[in-house]
Structure formats: structure tokens, C-alpha cells
Amino acid sequence: MKRPTRLGEGQKLILTANRLLDGHIVWRDAAGQWRPSITHAAQLDTDTAQTALETLDAQKEGVVGVYEVAVHPGIPPSPVSVRERIRAFGPTVHPEFATELEP
């Protein structure tokens, strides 16, 4: 089994996946809804994230490849790694494809 992500000082975890039908990136909010914008992703500690990962049903929720991402908390939260920032905000080379963030 995958080791839990190690968090730096003050960091939180959020859950992400790709939507099954179109592959688009989604983030899980506190109500368990998958949303295209990272803004309202539920910011969890390690244990809560682990429990959510173990209990959610990706197929039923219409997503694929669920995993957790370390973030600096905030609205929107800011992913720690460049990779996840690109996933959250869109490819850096096509500004017209930037992901629209919900207010």
C-alpha cells in the first residue's frame, strides 16, 4: 500500500482525481462533491484524508485515480508541488486554457 504523504509545517491534504467521462481534473469538497475548481477543496489532515481515500467509491462518484495532494492552506489552497499547481491552474503554456477558479 502507498505510504501516506508526509506533510510539511502547516500543510494540509486535499483529494483529487480525474473525471471518468472526460478525464478533467476534479477536487473533492467538504460535502464529498467533486468540483473542477480547487477553490473549495476540503483541506484535511493526514488521518481524515486516509479515511476518505479508503472509504470513497470512485466508480460511483464518476472519478478515476483518486489521490491526495499536499497544499498550503488558503482559498484557494496552493499545491506544494509544481505538478499539482499545473493540474490545479492549467498548463502554463496556454494561458487560454487556464482553469477558471470559483470565487
Binding site: 467521462l21 472526460d22 478525464g23 466508480q59 460511483k60 509544481v82 499545473i86 502554463t92
Partner: protein, 556 residues
């Protein structure tokens, strides 16, 4: 319909096969969506049909066999970009095209539309024999000895759904050339095949065990002169030895290059000969009739030009300096008098290497119809070739390309950069490749400067998988992750021609902007120390990398 110029003409067998295959995949997609198939079960099916799940969406990689396609196929690619993607496509270093924003639901429909123009996405992924690549000037180049497309097509048919080689230890890449000058990077493929005429028919020189990736290797010659009739048997035996002995326990050690390295080329050759000795050679014999039947599916262009075609061309060059400059970098000598081959650069200064919008793709299809018998080729340098252009019409073509924003005069020069999609799109990347390519091509965008620098290739990969062929770049850049930050390792001296070599690491990796500055200093240093007529590689081999290291790491 007449056979298309440049590629194999499908018949009803080919079309029925594609239709059945798409029905099968459509069913798999439906079962994935309704949950009957889990992602783990579905993944091998989608990969066999060229569908990846990448960073932002599904990505569909469409095969362009030996890089050649006709204008109606090109228009279909534009239509797919417009209808199902975000209005552009990305041409890859394996002469294919990728669409980065595809919906799973749409893929059966996309595949049907591709099949309507005899295209597919089979074997563009997975541990099988991938799309066979070839010389972008095949059938056109003045230096060509054998047209490699016929044998590339034979190998495509032999390898497609080959029952024994569908689950190889790892992916397997084949390239075929028929010229003395290696333009296909034959020595950097799992198997590279170079055809030449012999006294009794075509002979094939075969290299095995080349490749990029984590453990780059230059392919070694396994056979010098395989007869045409033994070509399939020999490749079959090479693959069998690999399939039987290649490592399946470690993905990083599974390519044929590792096996060739471990056994040594002589032992590998012995194993292949032993396999051949117990094969029923008659069963694998490639007969002259079979070759002729495949050759007949390729229509030949009528390459007659007016007697004054070259004179008109020379007069146009003399009148228009920008055209003259573009001609120097973006054309290649043709075998037929009065004709010339054109490479259309998809590398505008500051642009994204290999990207083309749907209107550019459509525009290129129109220009192919008007100027090159409706035929196009995609190069492993991520450019597009119009192979058969009449010299007296070249200036018109240049002007039409200019209107499409496709007349950048930089082929083979420093801003003709190969770059993989990198972290902006690729799920495996360590760093972004495109932004640094854009910065470098903008930095060296001045056409006069580029011409002065001369032949210099910069290749960029976003991770050690080396899809951007950085090992073979005269200057190679490899993206590495240093504590979450993007850094680039510089290598010098790579090349993929007849003297194929792997670039050597220059020194510690640098952050992106420092890398751009370091490369600018390397180029400046080259300009100041080269001798008359020396290319960058000449200077590097005369003086070694010390002057360039000093320049790269000098701090102001």
C-alpha cells in the same frame, strides 16, 4: 479511388478490420463507463487503442505510419482538433499526432472518423511494436538508394497485432531508412533498419539495442547484409530472443538495449542465428511478389517539371532575400530535376514545438494539394514535409506558408528545438519542457544570428524517459526535480546521425532561467572559438567540453 501518393492504399480487409476493432473498443468504453470494467482492467485496452490518461484529460495518440499522410487525412486531424479537442494538435518525435484534451466518451466516435480516412491509433502505446518510423524525404531525396516506405509498410503490416509480440517486455520501436545519411536515428531505435541495393536485390543493415531513456545506448550492428527475403524472419528471430529473455521483473531494465548490453552483441547474434536455424524459413520468406504487391499500393507522382523550373527558382531567390534564406534552411535536394523537398517549420520563435492549430493543419492540407500531390510527412523533428514541390512554384508556396505563419526559416538551426510535452501535459514529467524551449527559441529567434550559428540542435526532455531525445541533442536538456523545483541538466555532443553518440553531462543542473543564459553563453563561446567552417559539433570534438563548461558556469 486512385492509390494515394506516398502511403499504402487500404482495401476492404484493412477497413473491415478497423471497423471491428473500433466496435470492440466502443464496447470496452461502455463497460468502463457503466462500471463493468475497473480502471485497472480497462487501462490495457485503452492503451492498446492509443488512449492515455494524462495530466489534464485523456490524450489520444494517432498513428501516422512512417510519418506519411494525405491531405484528406490531414484535414480529418484538423477536424478532430476542432471538434473534440481545443483546436490544436501536437506532432510528436515519433511522427505521430497527439490530442491533449479528449473525452473518453468521444473516443469511439473519434476513432470511427479516423477510420473513415484509413487512420487509427492502434499500437501507439503499450508494450508492443509501435508505429514504424522512416525518412521524411523517403521516395524524394536525391541521396536515397532505396525507397524505405515499401519495407516500412511491410513491417507495419507484419507488426500490427502480431500475436507473439503483443505483450513484449516493453515497448519496441522500429525505424527504416534507405539513404546513406541516417535521418531516422536508426542507431537510437530498438531496431534500426537501413536498406541499400545489392547485386541481387535489396540488402538490409540492421542495428539492435539502441534507445534513449534512463539508460541511453547506441544500437549495435547485428547484421550487415540481410537479404530481402530473410528480412521478416530475421526481425522475427530478433524479437523472439528479446521476448524470451528480456527482463519483465524491472520496468527500467526491460528494453532490448539492456538485454543486448547484458549478453553482448555477439551472443545476441548467436541467439538470433540459433532461432533462425530452427525456424521454417519458407513460412517467413518475403517474396518478390509480396514486395511488388505492397509497392503497387503506392502511387508514384508524375515528377516532370518545365525545363526552366530551376532557372525560375534561382531568379526568385535572387530577387527575394527572405525567400533565399528560407530556401537555404528549409529545403532538401530532390532526386527529380526541377523538384525540391520542403520542410515546414512548426517552430516559430517563442512557439510551442510541434503544435499546430486546426487552421494551420487545414492550410497545410490545402498546400499539399496545390504543391505536393496531396501528400505530407511528419518528421521526428516535429516539423512537416512537402516532399515533391516544383522549383518554379516554390516562391508561391513560401508566400502561402508565410500567410499561415509557417515560413520560419530555421530547420536544422538552433531554434528548431525538439521538446516533449513535459510537465504542462505529461503525468510522468519532472519539469516543464515547453517554456524553456519557448525562451530559447525566442532568444535565438533572429534569423541572421541562427544562420551564423549554423547547424545546432537543442533537444529537451521533461524527464529521464527522454521523449524529447535530449541524449541525441548537440545540446541536450533534461528536466530534473530538485526538492520540488525544476532544474535542467545540460549535455553536449549528442547526435543521431551515422556517427550517433550520447551527449555527456556538462556539470550541475541549473534553474530554468540560468539554463537559458548558460546556453546563450555556450553558443557565444562557440562563435568566438570556432575555426572557419566548423559546426558546433566540430568545435566540440576538437576542443572538448572544457571551454563550454567554463562558459556555462561562469558567473557574472
Amino acid at each position: 479511388m486512385n492509390a494515394p501518393i506516398g502511403h499504402y492504399q487500404y482495401d476492404s480487409v484493412d477497413r473491415d478490420f478497423l471497423a471491428a476493432r473500433i466496435d470492440e473498443f466502443a464496447d470496452q468504453v461502455a463497460r468502463r463507463i457503466d462500471g463493468a470494467l475497473t480502471e485497472d482492467e480497462f487501462k490495457p485496452f485503452r492503451l492498446m487503442n492509443g488512449l492515455y490518461l494524462q495530466l489534464h484529460a485523456y490524450m489520444l495518440r494517432v498513428a501516422i505510419p512512417y510519418g506519411t499522410l494525405d491531405s484528406r487525412q490531414m484535414r480529418m486531424l484538423a477536424e478532430i482538433a476542432r471538434t473534440y479537442d481545443r483546436d490544436y494538435g501536437h506532432f510528436t518525435t515519433r511522427q505521430n499526432i497527439q490530442f491533449n484534451w479528449i473525452r473518453l466518451e468521444d473516443t469511439p466516435e473519434i476513432l470511427r472518423r479516423l477510420a473513415s480516412v484509413d487512420m487509427h491509433a492502434i499500437q501507439t502505446s503499450g508494450n508492443c511494436i509501435r508505429n514504424v518510423t522512416s525518412d521524411q524525404f523517403a521516395g524524394a531525396s536525391a541521396d536515397e538508394l532505396v525507397d524505405p516506405r515499401v519495407h516500412a509498410e511491410i513491417l507495419r503490416q507484419w507488426s500490427t497485432l502480431h500475436p507473439e509480440f503483443t505483450f513484449l517486455p516493453r515497448k519496441f520501436k522500429l525505424a527504416v531508412s534507405g539513404s546513406p545519411e541516417d535521418r531516422v536515428a536508426a542507431r537510437f531505435h530498438d531496431v534500426g533498419v537501413i536498406a541499400r541495393p545489392g547485386p541481387d536485390g535489396t540488402l538490409f543493415r540492421i542495428f539492435v539495442g539502441g534507445g534513449m531513456g534512463r539508460t541511453p545506448a547506441v544500437g549495435k550492428e547485428i547484421f550487415d547484409s540481410v537479404r530481402e527475403e530473410d528480412l521478416l524472419a530475421t526481425l522475427e528471430a530478433i524479437l523472439r530472443v528479446y521476448n524470451a529473455h528480456g527482463r519483465r521483473d524491472n520496468i527500467y531494465k526491460a528494453r532490448i538495449k539492456i538485454l543486448v548490453e547484458a549478453l553482448g552483441i555477439d551472443a545476441y547474434r548467436e541467439a538470433v542465428l540459433a532461432e533462425l536455424a530452427q525456424m521454417d524459413m519458407a513460412l517467413y520468406r518475403l517474396t518478390p511478389d509480396m514486395v511488388a504487391a505492397i509497392r503497387a499500393r503506392f502511387a508514384a507522382p508524375d515528377l516532370t517539371a518545365p525545363p526552366d523550373a530551376t532557372a525560375t527558382f534561382e531568379a526568385d531567390r535572387a530577387r527575394h532575400p527572405a525567400f533565399d534564406r528560407w530556401t537555404r534552411s528549409n529545403t532538401h535536394p530532390h532526386r527529380a530535376p526541377g523538384y525540391i523537398s520542403v520542410t515546414v517549420s512548426l517552430k516559430p520563435a517563442g512557439g510551442i514545438p510541434g503544435d499546430a492549430t486546426s487552421s494551420q493543419i487545414d492550410g497545410l492540407a490545402d498546400l499539399a494539394d496545390s504543391y505536393s500531390f496531396g501528400e505530407l510527412r511528419i518528421t521526428h523533428m516535429q516539423n512537416v514535409v512537402l516532399a515533391h514541390v516544383r522549383q518554379d512554384r516554390l516562391f508561391d508556396l513560401f508566400q502561402a506558408l508565410d500567410e499561415l505563419g509557417l515560413a520560419t526559416p530555421n530547420v536544422g538551426l538552433v531554434s528548431d528545438i525538439i521538446a516533449c510535452p513535459g510537465l504542462d501535459y505529461c503525468a510522468l514529467a519532472n519539469s516543464r519542457s515547453i517554456p524553456i524551449a519557448q525562451k530559447l527559441s525566442a532568444r535565438f529567434g533572429d534569423p541572421t544570428l541562427q544562420e551564423e550559428v549554423g547547424r545546432l540542435r537543442i533537444n529537451i526532455s521533461g524527464c529521464i524517459n527522454a521523449c524529447g531525445h535530449h541524449h541525441a541533442g548537440h545540446i541536450g536538456l533534461l528536466g530534473v526535480d530538485k526538492r520540488g523545483e525544476e532544474f535542467f541538466q545540460i549535455t553536449l555532443g549528442g547526435r543521431s546521425d551515422n556517427n550517433a553518440a550520447i551527449g555527456e553531462i556538462l556539470g550541475p543542473a541549473l534553474p530554468e532561467d540560468d539554463t537559458v543564459d548558460a546556453i546563450a553563453r555556450i553558443v557565444d563561446r562557440y562563435l568566438s572559438i570556432r575555426e572557419l567552417g566548423e559546426t558546433f559539433l566540430d568545435t566540440l570534438s576538437r576542443l572538448g567540453d572544457a571551454p563550454f563548461r567554463e562558459a556555462a558556469y561562469e558567473t557574472a
